[in-house]
Symmetry: C2
Subunit: 360 residues, 2 copies
């Protein structure tokens, strides 16, 4: 995806960049930082500091957008298995515009749009220096929100659909928390793969609207948690699912696990109910149901820039460009309003709303 362009023009351009670099010392970055773990709205502070000179392998990026994800919240709270050392800048995801590149960086140039690929880089800041090899160049006509939310949710959905079952067009999958960001990605990617999705959501006053929204994204069936317990669709109109995706846990995970075909897998990628996964002994022994988990951070680390990895980003970006993969609902908020965003993103019930920080 990163094109290597060599020309005399680039050489001249690099000389211009180098002279730019000397003036960077006087520029300021505003960053959000936490020194200690704790409630995000309390421990995160805004700090201004000068931008130090670029090293040869670094790229200076002006951030355009960075979401507040559950993993960010949990990392700040100290309940996420992150490699971050404190003090740290939060922000797993984001998109930025290249301002300047180090002498060794040949594959990026100013104004390129880039996505930081490692969750510990810290995207919640106006300007950041990132190692060049940890940036993915993305097309400029890819929406800012699409790019800023590319590396966690769409990748999680994509990998779970590809790696845990041999799915063919016409096959059925079931998921709970189907209205989550990953859930909505699952519906759309599954549709493109020719799969039928059975989507389980919590009942709510606006359930008809929600069902309609998910149907419009490509959901085959949408059922509430109560409805899935007594449904007869797997006896009448649909084959049993070959894959179950769980981000809820507890009784709800058990209900979707029970619908699986023999020898199939339930993949857990979240635990919104804060209850563990329960598997009946008989399902494990006599139905050979497998219970596994998926963590995109771990997958990315293992498969970084492999053929599969490149294929995935190609597919996802193409789907986004063709409007086959839409982003879930979200609210923009200026990063200086971070306290309000953090309070609203995480209330007493846990993570609630998706906010995307912007920096202009």
């Amino acid at each position: 995806m990163i094109l290597r362009i060599k020309s005399q023009f680039i050489e001249i351009f690099n000389i211009t960049l180098k002279s730019n670099k000397r003036s960077m010392g006087s520029q300021i970055t505003s960053k959000l930082v936490f020194q200690n773990h704790g409630p995000p709205a309390s421990v995160v502070k805004l700090v201004d500091e000068p931008i130090t000179p670029l090293r040869p392998d670094e790229v200076l990026v002006k951030m355009l957008a960075a979401p507040i994800n559950p993993a960010d919240i949990n990392t700040i709270e100290g309940v996420y298995p992150s490699e971050l050392k404190l003090p740290a800048v939060p922000g797993f995801e984001g998109v930025g515009k290249v301002v300047n590149v180090g002498d060794n960086i040949k594959e990026l140039k100013p104004n390129d749009h880039v996505v930081p690929l490692k969750e510990t880089l810290g995207t919640w800041r106006t300007y950041a220096k990132f190692p060049g090899h940890l940036l993915l160049k993305v097309p400029k006509d890819l929406g800012i929100v699409q790019a800023a939310t590319l590396i966690i949710n769409p990748c999680t959905a994509y990998r779970m659909l590809k790696d845990f079952a041999n799915l063919k067009p016409g096959d059925v999958i079931i998921q709970n928390g189907a209205n989550s960001a990953v859930g909505q990605n699952v519906i759309q990617i599954a549709k493109r793969m020719g799969l039928k999705t059975v989507n389980v959501v919590r009942d709510r006053p606006e359930i008809v609207d929600l069902k309609c929204t998910l149907k419009n994204l490509g959901a085959h069936t949408v059922l509430t948690e109560e409805e899935v317990k007594k449904t007869d669709i797997f006896k009448k109109s649909l084959p049993k699912p070959k894959l179950a995706l769980n981000c809820v846990g507890g009784q709800n995970a058990l209900e979707i696990l029970k619908t699986l075909q023999e020898g199939c897998t339930m993949v857990t990628y979240g635990g919104m109910s804060r209850k563990p996964v329960i598997a009946p002994t008989s399902a494990l022994i006599f139905k050979d149901v497998h219970v596994k988990g998926f963590w995109v951070t771990s997958w990315n680390k293992q498969m970084f820039k492999s053929k599969k990895w490149l294929q995935m980003y190609n597919d996802l970006i193409n789907m986004m460009l063709k409007k086959e993969l839409k982003v879930p609902s979200h609210n923009f908020i200026h990063f200086k309003g971070y306290k309000e965003a953090l309070e609203k993103a995480v209330d007493s019930k846990g993570y609630q709303k998706k906010f995307i920080l912007n920096f202009d």
Copy 2:
């Protein structure tokens, strides 16, 4: 294992057998039968009937011994996913002596010891006609109990140690219900593979004796359910386990699952606590722990007489002949005392004691 012997002598011998067959009609078999599912001691009845003539592919076997297994009990109760059609003779396992063979049977002869290989054949009877291809010839110097209990517990232990982790000498495995018949097989087979076993058992008045018994079988460590919760052996003296074997479920299964290395598997083959398997969401996602089940009946069906299958029986029989694999404690009882055996094998707490029916 079944040797094909061809000689003129065999031809003459077969003629003798055929003349024997004609007299079989007057012989009687006494069999235990159940017409309906229910409490084993109530629904199982003793029935005598004449032995009908052998078909060309059948073998007439005089049963020598047949155990009462939990799977037999559950099958009679109607809570086991068996293919048996009622009325049926119970008995998954057993060993018998060949009395007579059908015209097409070349690989067995009278007096051979054979083990029926399919759990629906019904071993709780004095004489039975079995399809020849569903019999395994075993050495006569293999003990009667060893042969009668070969196809469920030792195979379950063997496959779980071979198929769910890439275990090397020095690796550690953990199991609960370590005093069960499978558990004792696991200890002995693991020892022969050079593995270290951490064995979890329920606390009981004679706990020191039990620990000693399991140590003598080759257990590296024996811990009670309370002890495993607070043990520091995986911090101090042993690497974390690469495989967990669970026949208990509930909290106890959770405790052994928690000790696993990243990316490893817990295999469930029983649920003695009658509680389901619980897996914390974080272990599934961040530790990539896999939760699976194993059912020897299903494995046998899939792998029947494959290379792996033959290798397994060879290994197990050799271990038994060398006294490296001892049978768990058991009581013989004459099959006419089946009511008492069934009552004692299964009391209000479920399956308690291993009884082996004999038929002389």
